[in-house]
Symmetry: C2
Subunit: 164 residues, 2 copies
DNA sequence: CTGTATCCTTAAAGATACTG
DNA sequence: CAGTATCTTTAAGGATACAG
C-alpha cells in the first residue's frame, strides 16, 4: 500500500496478522489452498490474478511459513503448512459473516466436515459456553507495552466517568 | 488499491467480506470500536492514522451499516452496530493467530468475558464438537454460480485422479 | 474537536512480452 | 506450465492547511 504505515509496529496481534495476510489477495489464495488448489495456474484461473502478483504473494506466503513449495522445480505444488491451516477458523468466520451480510444468506460455498456435516457458526466461548459479543472485554496481556497499557487504562477510566 | 479487481464480483463470501472490511485500516478501526473507542480523535490517536483516511473509513463503515454515528453533530460518537459486532469472532480469530504466530504467544491484548474469564481459542465445530482443520471440506452452496460449481467439481475430480 | 479540501508521493496492480 | 522482467496506470495513503 502506498506510502504506508507499518502495521506490524502496532503492539497489536490483529495488526500484525493483517500485516502478513491482510491484503486483498493473500487470504483468497489461502482459501483456494484450503479448498485444494495447488498449482500456480489453478490459482491464477480461480482468482483472475495477474501472474506477477500471484508469484509475489506465493513467495511471501512461503517466506512467512504459511505455505510450502514442493514437487518438481518446473511444476511445483503449493500447499498450506500447519501455520497456514491455523488460519482456517478466522477465514471461515469471515466467510460466514459474508454469507450473512454480503451474500444474502445464500453461501456460494459451504463448509463441512469429511462426512458433509455443516460447520456451525463460529462463536466466542469461554470454558462454560458461548459468550455474547456484548459481553466481550479486552485487557492488557503479557505482551502489552506501556503505551498499550496506558491506552486501555484511559479507556477504562473514561467509561467509569460515565461515557455510556 | 491501485487499478484493482472488484473482489465483490467473485462469487465468494470471503472475497465479498474482504471487499468491505479487508483493507489495512478498517478492521483495526472495528477493533478499536470493540474495545470502546468512540471518538474521532481517539481513533486517530490510537491508530496513528491520517485524518482524511480515518474520515473516509468511518463514512464507509457507517454506509455499510457496520458502525453508526450518533450524538452531537459537532462531536459525534461512532459505535458498532449489530452487524459490526458480528465481526467479533472473525476478529478474535485473527488476533489469536497473531498472538501465536506474530506475537510469540505474548498477546498484547487479551480477550475475556465480563468476569475476566478468558475467551477460548476459536475453533471450527459441527454439532458434535471440534472439527480439525484437516477434516474441513468445501462444497457448492445455494449461492454458487455455474463457474463456482464447475470449479469445485474440477477440483474434486482432480483429487480423484490421485493428485496429492 | 471534527472534519473537509488539496496536493504529493509511492508502490501496488495489472498488462505484456519474454524465458526455461 | 511457471515464472521473471518491464512498463504504465491509478488510486490509496499521508501531510498540511483550513473551516465549522
Amino acid at each position: 500500500m502506498p506510502g504506508k504505515t507499518d502495521l506490524s509496529e502496532l503492539n497489536c496481534s490483529l495488526a500484525r496478522t493483517l500485516a502478513i495476510v491482510g491484503d486483498w489477495w493473500t487470504l483468497l489464495i489461502v482459501r483456494d489452498a484450503c479448498i485444494g488448489v495447488r498449482r500456480f495456474g489453478d490459482f491464477q484461473d480461480s482468482l483472475g490474478i495477474a501472474k506477477n502478483i500471484l508469484a509475489t504473494r506465493l513467495q511471501q506466503l512461503c517466506a512467512a511459513g504459511i505455505m510450502a513449495r514442493s514437487g518438481p522445480e518446473r511444476r511445483p505444488l503449493y500447499q498450506l503448512t500447519e501455520k497456514g491451516r491455523a488460519l482456517l477458523p478466522a477465514m471461515v468466520a469471515l466467510m460466514q459473516w459474508g454469507d450473512r451480510f454480503a451474500s444474502a444468506n445464500k453461501p456460494p460455498v459451504i463448509v463441512t466436515d469429511t462426512s458433509g456435516r455443516p460447520i456451525a457458526p463460529v462463536t466466542l466461548r469461554n470454558n462454560r459456553g458461548d459468550v455474547a459479543s456484548e459481553d466481550v472485554r479486552f485487557a492488557a496481556g503479557p505482551g502489552a507495552n506501556a503505551r498499550t497499557r496506558a491506552f486501555l487504562d484511559a479507556l477504562r477510566t473514561a467509561e467509569m466517568k460515565r461515557d455510556v
